[in-house]
């Protein structure tokens, strides 16, 4: 009560002081540099800068919910934060200890290697298959467009569902893949795909390729339509065969498309999370951990938040390096 009363008694004084400052500030603007100030205001509301008002809400939203978390994550990785001091309490700075520990950590090294291996394998196959399909569907037959359209479905399906479907296909007892292999006499007994280290990775790669094919196919298809038909005509007049045409016209002219398909594919595959988490959760015995799943495990299963953040940051750095190529590729053709 006393505090409140004291506050009220001070209030007029505060108001007066503030008012005074306001007058001083106000006066300064108009007397000392009044003109410059007005110009500045006018400049701020110049035609082009109005555009910023349109962008600002989205930008601020992203700053709050993405920009700030990124910085927070970097800080976290230099601290020692666990379940005890996550929300409240003091967080000790241990600088690079998390990172140093990680590089001694076998699971981390495995997951880094796994992520690279997985990404490269997926990229190669989904790109080649996507490319072949794009070439195939560029032929003008009746079903070309409708079938190509339906083939986009795998890309749209929630990854959790895809993971479930492939778990079913690769199931040991009832899996169709084991059934087919048995019928073809390629294997005598059922393979335990998801619980054997080497084969679990294979199953993951298959599932990811399935998701990636439509994406590669549609982008390359679009790229193909931008190649002028006259080039092919003059090539055939010159007597070039199909393989020659492919290597001397199609590939070089598709270069920008291929670049962005591969870079984007790398980014999307490298940050894979849901698929691996649902299909294997990094198992068996950590053999299929990726950087993202290992980071999740450290943070939300072992409650070593700082270490999890450090793993996520390693992932981020690699993605950003690749991202620079992507930004260069996409902004090269921009106006201005």
């Amino acid at each position: 009560m006393f505090c409140a009363a004291a506050l009220f008694s001070i209030m007029p004084a505060v108001k007066y002081a503030a008012g005074g400052w306001y007058k001083v500030a106000h006066g300064a603007c108009y007397t000392l540099k009044g003109e410059a100030f007005m110009k500045k205001i006018k400049k701020m509301f110049r035609y082009e800068n109005v555009g910023m008002l349109f962008v600002l809400p989205a930008f601020v939203y992203m700053l709050v919910f993405v920009g700030y978390p990124i910085i927070r994550n970097i800080i976290l990785s230099f601290q020692d934060v666990n379940a005890g001091n996550l929300v409240r309490g003091t967080k000790n700075f241990i600088l690079f200890d998390n990172y140093l520990e990680l590089f001694q950590d076998d699971v981390f090294r495995t997951s880094l290697f796994n992520t690279l291996r997985y990404t490269v394998m997926c990229l190669v196959f989904q790109f080649v298959i996507g490319f072949i399909l794009a070439l195939f569907f560029s032929k003008r037959f009746t079903l070309a467009k409708p079938v190509r359209g339906i083939l986009l479905v795998p890309w749209m399906i929630p990854v959790t569902v895809t993971a479930l479907m492939f778990k079913l296909l690769f199931a040991t007892d009832i899996g169709v893949i084991n059934y087919i292999l048995r019928s073809l006499h390629l294997t005598g007994k059922n393979i335990e795909w998801l619980t054997t280290p080497g084969t679990a990775m294979f199953a993951l790669v298959c599932a990811n390729i399935w998701i990636g094919i439509p994406f590669n196919m549609i982008l390359i298809s679009t790229g193909l339509t931008t190649i002028p038909k006259e080039l092919y005509e003059s090539a055939s007049i010159d007597g070039a065969n199909r393989i020659q045409t492919f290597f001397s016209i199609t590939l070089p002219l598709l270069k920008p498309t291929i670049e962005s398909v591969l870079i984007l594919g790398f980014i999307y595959t490298f940050k894979v999370y849901d698929l691996v988490y649902v299909m294997t959760s990094g198992g068996p015995v950590n053999s299929t951990h990726m950087l993202s799943t290992y980071s999740y495990k450290l943070s939300f299963e072992m409650f070593k938040y700082s270490k999890g953040s450090a793993v996520a940051n390693v992932l981020l750095v690699i993605l950003m390096i690749v991202g620079i190529f992507y930004i260069k590729a996409t902004t090269a053709g921009e106006e201005e």
Partner: protein
């Protein structure tokens, strides 16, 4: 493209048949999940497997209606609310933002554009822990709001980058004509530009919805109670608890695919445009 000769009779036939074969192979996983959801548990474990359900069994779906811990229709509702929320935020913020970026050359424009590009590449792992702390402090942890706020961060950058191309392609004369008719910048934007860019807005809404619908990490991490979790997290939980109850699991999967299938059937042309313009032009 259009001048290129169509394939003649026989070749057309051969290519069409090959395309059907490709289609069957690639969509087989989907077919398999669908028929598994319609089989009895006994038939699922039958050897050799049956390639269509011999006894039609709808129990896996019906059992879910009668409540239980894993009511998939409640999860479906949760997912729906979360995805719609994220879509609304993404579209409301991205439409003006993309217009600003496409039509004005203000200071910092490039930086903003770049930051939208970069956020598209971010892995969820980087954001999970800090968002988790943030939502706890905001007291929205374990509510739909947390998932909505997080999911919108996927839709916004994507939508801005796509819509920017739509707005950029609208000729300036059209805008100027609107000014002559007495519009100011804001009314011109609302009455002239948005209607023209409508297909782009639809693409953004569809993709924001699909991203939010497919999200697992945010929904699982920021919502603790199963009753409020999205359907993807429901599937994951279910797998952990009833690992081999495949009829239920696949029924769950089929229900999750329904909205995706509907979007695909009714809005296919927007999907191709979203997949390509978003990726190639950045």
């Amino acid at each position: 493209m259009d001048e290129e000769k169509k394939l003649n009779g026989r070749k057309n036939m051969v290519f069409s048949i090959i395309s059907i074969v490709i289609l069957c192979i690639l969509l087989f996983p989907l077919y398999w999940a669908l028929i598994t959801s319609l089989k009895t548990e006994q038939e699922i474990f039958q050897n050799p497997p049956t390639f269509y359900p011999h006894i039609l069994n709808l129990k896996s779906y019906a059992a879910q209606v009668e409540t239980g811990d894993f009511n998939m229709f409640r999860s479906f509702g949760n997912s729906f609310v979360i995805s719609i929320g994220a879509t609304v935020i993404a579209v409301l913020l991205a439409v003006p933002a993309s217009y600003g970026i496409a039509k004005y050359h203000f200071k910092g424009r490039k930086l903003m554009l770049l930051s939208f590009l970069v956020t598209q590449m971010l892995p969820v792992s980087v954001l999970l822990t800090p968002m988790f702390i943030m939502f706890k402090n905001m007291h929205v942890y374990n509510t739909w709001i947390a998932a909505v706020l997080a999911d919108a961060t996927i839709g916004i950058p994507f939508s801005v980058l796509i819509l920017k191309n739509y707005f950029a392609s609208i000729p300036k004369d059209l805008e100027e004509a609107a000014y002559l008719d007495g519009c100011n910048k804001f009314t011109a934007f609302l009455r002239i530009l948005i209607p023209i860019a409508k297909p782009g807005v639809i693409v953004c809404a569809i993709f924001s919805f699909l991203y939010a619908w497919g999200d697992l990490a945010y929904g699982m991490t920021f919502i603790l109670d199963q009753e409020r979790r999205p359907i993807t997290a429901g599937i994951f939980n279910f797998m952990g608890q009833y690992g081999t109850k495949w009829s239920y699991l696949t029924a769950f999967a089929v229900v999750t695919i329904i909205p995706v299938a509907l979007i695909f059937i009714f809005m296919q042309k927007y999907i191709v445009s979203g997949m390509t313009s978003g990726a190639v032009k950045g």
